[in-house]
């Protein structure tokens, strides 16, 4: 009850009541005035449009007044605002009363308003992008005040912990991101090495060999792999795949840690199989049937047609599919957080634990947070690199795919 009586809920309820009342008032006014005209003139808009128009006017005045109240609250006693609010409402109702004649083009106004509201909706998507770019760039600039951008992009040593003593080496932490980048690329490479051939072969099989029934079963089954949450893959890598690889390697006398690039990469590879297979499937299906027919007419087998005719024709699209998969793999977080490790090793050995951009962002931003430290800000710099890199990959991939589609349309 206490909660229901606070000023915010009260004002909110009054606003809703006012808007509904305005709608009913406007609609009723339109009906009664249309009935009064006896010279055969009919109302331009349906009564409900008059209602919507009135509701909109009242909402506009009331919310404007509330905004005014919130910004200048304290400058005058509250009852002054309340009186002003009342005046604003009275004004809006008198405007409605004046405007709503049967000839008033209420529908056109309401439709213009709807158009504006829809435009604002699509503006949110643009705003989100701006928000991402601005926040990443702003925080990264703060970071580059502490650490020069070149040191960040070319340094070979990453240990963001701020030192306790003055004389320790790299007392403000050292922020050379190269080991992180190499780790990211290694895991991505392992993933593509696994998902590339498998995904491509599945696409070929589904588009060229499988009959309709097999396709109807297999395609959704493969796509389930893309619907499994990444946290589930991460736990699978941690619980099953990592230990399995360790035991397998021990059988050959190697020692591999449970968290390794190969464990994270191979599970990530399984995750991105459907990205490659679905996109390649689309691309292969888009190759005109005439090319196939021509190849078969010359006596080529299906596999020869595939490898020598369709594959070259579909190559740009397939490259696009791979780029999209790579971008997906680079941005993937939970699998690597759980299965790849956190130590920044500069190594070329996939059987060692490496770290990635996303793992470091998570490591830097979970737990203690002081927002101005170079440690926290470096996460945004890594985020900026990640964003720019995936964006470039996507743009290139989309351009390639679009150009490829146009060629055969």
């Amino acid at each position: 009850m206490q909660q229901l009586l606070n000023p915010e809920t009260l004002i909110g309820a009054l606003l809703i009541i006012g808007v509904v009342a305005a709608f009913l008032y406007g609609r009723g006014l339109a009906i009664s005035r249309a009935q009064l005209t006896t010279d055969g003139a009919r109302a331009h808009s349906l009564p409900s449009y008059h209602g919507y128009f009135s509701a909109w006017i009242v909402a506009l005045f009331a919310s404007g007044m509330i905004a005014f109240w919130v910004t200048f609250s304290g400058a005058a006693p509250n009852f002054v605002f309340a009186i002003l609010m009342f005046c604003a409402l009275a004004l809006s109702f008198s405007i409605i009363n004046r405007l709503l004649t049967p000839t008033f083009r209420a529908r056109n106004h309401v439709e213009r308003f709807i158009g504006g509201a829809l435009m604002i909706c699509s503006g949110v998507a643009v705003l989100t992008t701006f928000g991402i770019v601005l926040s990443l760039v702003f925080e990264s600039l703060q970071f580059f005040k502490h650490v020069p951008i070149l040191d960040f992009l070319t340094g070979l040593h990453w240990s963001p912990q701020t030192a306790l003593r003055e004389d320790q080496i790299g007392q403000s932490g050292s922020f050379g991101a190269v080991p992180i980048f190499t780790g990211t690329f290694m895991i991505t490479a392992v993933a593509i090495f696994i998902a590339g051939p498998i995904g491509l072969l599945i696409a070929v099989y589904l588009s060229e060999y499988a009959n309709k029934r097999t396709r109807a079963i297999v395609k959704p089954m493969v796509e389930i792999l893309a619907g499994v949450p990444t946290i589930v893959y991460g736990f699978f890598a941690l619980l099953t795949v990592g230990p399995a690889i360790r035991n397998f390697a021990e059988g050959f006398g190697f020692s591999v840690p449970t968290q390794s690039a190969i464990a994270a990469g191979s599970v990530m590879g399984v995750m991105i199989i459907p990205f490659i297979s679905s996109l390649s499937d689309d691309v292969i299906n888009a190759v005109p049937q005439t090319l196939r027919d021509a190849s078969f007419a010359l006596g080529a087998t299906q596999s020869e047609t595939m490898t020598k005719v369709i594959f070259p024709a579909a190559l740009p699209g397939i490259i696009g599919a791979f780029l999209l998969a790579i971008s997906r793999a680079i941005g993937e977080t939970m699998i690597v957080v759980m299965a790849a490790g956190r130590a920044a090793n500069l190594t070329g050995n996939p059987f060692e634990a490496v770290t990635t951009v996303t793992v470091q962002i998570v490591a830097l931003l979970t737990g203690d947070q002081e927002f101005d430290s170079a440690k926290t800000l470096s996460a945004f710099a890594l985020g900026l690199v990640l964003f720019v890199f995936t964006l470039v990959l996507n743009v290139i991939a989309l351009l390639i795919v679009r150009r490829y589609r146009e060629r055969y349309e």
């Binding site: 439709e111 909706c121 498998i198 491509l200 599945i202 619907g227 946290i231 589930v232 299906q302």
Partner: protein, 433 residues
């Protein structure tokens, strides 16, 4: 001359060999395709089997039925029955005494401690405290309670601790095994369905931990995400598809949305951290912020799904409406959007399913808090189901691995149901022209 004419170049040995080679290659290629499909299916199967195999036992839990005497001298020496005293009274001692009374032969201090370790200490004390607190008249009486056993004993009874292993390598001692065996044969220790897993929030003790808090957090965050992304997404899609003029600006918006769909989810988390938490000062760990981040993340999915649903509606519908005198807006909102509703709904459900499984952005905005209460509003700190899974997966004990897998099973079942509903709706409501 005539003999040579009979053998065409296709029937020489060389040609036959070549043909055989080509056919073999064809076969190999085909098998490679089948193998790839099989590998993908085997990985999916392995994933499911390993998770279900580890997790299904968490849906059961062993409980001990024990009679405790609510001794007034321990609980309420003053006899005042005031709430404060009843809250902080020594319930631990009550439980210990009940256990020692059940096994009077145990006298050594060390054995007594081992005996007490077979049940979930905080589970039992909290249970008795709650009952006494609700009904102070119970003090002085006897009370039969059913309490969960400790996680080690539970794992032992589920067969994950080998009783033949050397004692020092086991988490359960020989003595404890003897007591447990005795309690099992007498029927005091039984296996029941683990309701607590679905009704409790997180806990430090695996035998007491449940997913209810995380599920409620997820539902709240998804609710916020739904009310944010579906109206805005549908609005944006209708605008771009029906109202937008063809110019540079709309081209830009369109490219923007396509790119937004491919932005890594963790970047949305960074956006939430920088804008919602640091700039607007919204509370950390709150489902409100989590839902806003997830909502922005699903926005492109919903826009793209809605646009394709709108495109699938036959243009003759619009033409018909316009020819009967409807305005363009009326034609769109009265006819086209309702006909596209099933597609929009399907897209929204799939978008929400994606948001439900998403973890990384929630980590960024601090929804990794250890929360032992079920949240009651969207401004309170909460966890979410995938984040709960992430938190539990960090713990090494077997009982946690079991519960992590069980939580994953629940998550997967919910996701499968959401997708099944989406597929069902699509097949049921979809119209073709």
């Amino acid at each position: 001359m005539s003999a040579m004419a009979k053998t065409s170049i296709h029937q020489t040995d060389l040609a036959r060999k070549r043909l055989a080679r080509r056919k073999a290659k064809e076969k190999r290629f085909r098998y490679a395709g089948v193998t790839a499909v099989v590998i993908a299916m085997v990985m999916l199967g392995w994933l499911v089997v390993s998770l279900v195999g580890t997790g299904y036992t968490a849906f059961f839990q062993h409980y001990l039925t024990i009679t405790v005497t609510l001794d007034e001298n321990i609980l309420d020496p003053n006899g005042a029955r005031d709430a404060d005293q009843l809250r902080k009274a020594n319930y631990r001692k009550i439980i210990q005494q009940a256990l020692y009374a059940r096994f009077p032969e145990v006298t050594y201090r060390r054995s007594k401690r081992a005996l007490f370790q077979i049940i979930s200490a905080s589970g039992a004390t909290n249970h008795v405290r709650k009952m006494v607190y609700q009904d102070p008249n119970l003090v002085g009486r006897e009370l039969t309670i059913v309490v969960p056993v400790s996680d080690d004993v539970d794992q032992f009874l589920k067969g994950y601790i080998d009783r033949k292993a050397p004692e020092e390598l086991r988490r359960v001692s020989d003595q404890q095994i003897a007591w447990v065996d005795q309690l099992v044969t007498s029927g005091e220790l039984v296996r029941k369905f683990n309701w607590r897993f679905f009704t409790a929030a997180d806990s430090r003790d695996p035998e007491l931990a449940g997913i209810a808090g995380a599920v409620v957090g997820s539902i709240m965050a998804l609710g916020v995400a739904f009310f944010l992304s579906v109206p805005i997404g549908v609005g944006a899609a209708v605008y771009l598809e029906e109202f937008a003029p063809k110019n540079r600006l709309t081209d830009f918006i369109e490219i923007n949305i396509n790119n937004l769909a491919a932005v890594p989810s963790i970047v949305f988390g960074l956006l939430g951290l920088a804008v919602f938490l640091n700039f607007f000062g919204l509370p950390r760990s709150a489902p409100l912020v989590g839902g806003m981040v997830l909502g922005l993340m699903t926005l492109p999915t919903i826009i793209i799904a809605t646009r394709s649903a709108l495109r699938a509606v036959s243009p003759s519908i619009i033409d018909g409406a316009l020819s009967l005198g409807a305005s363009h807006t009326q034609a769109v909102f009265h006819h086209k959007v309702p006909l596209a509703a099933s597609g929009i709904l399907t897209g929204s459900i799939i978008g929400m399913a994606q948001a439900l499984g998403e973890t990384a952005p929630l980590l960024m905005i601090g929804m990794v808090a250890f929360v032992t209460e079920i949240p009651t509003n969207i401004m309170e700190p909460a966890s979410a189901l995938p984040v709960q899974i992430f938190l539990w997966s960090d713990s090494a004990e077997r009982a946690w691995a079991e519960r992590t897998s069980a939580a994953i099973i629940v998550l997967l079942i919910v996701l499968i149901s959401m997708n099944a509903i989406a597929i069902f709706l699509r097949s049921r409501l979809e119209r073709r022209w």
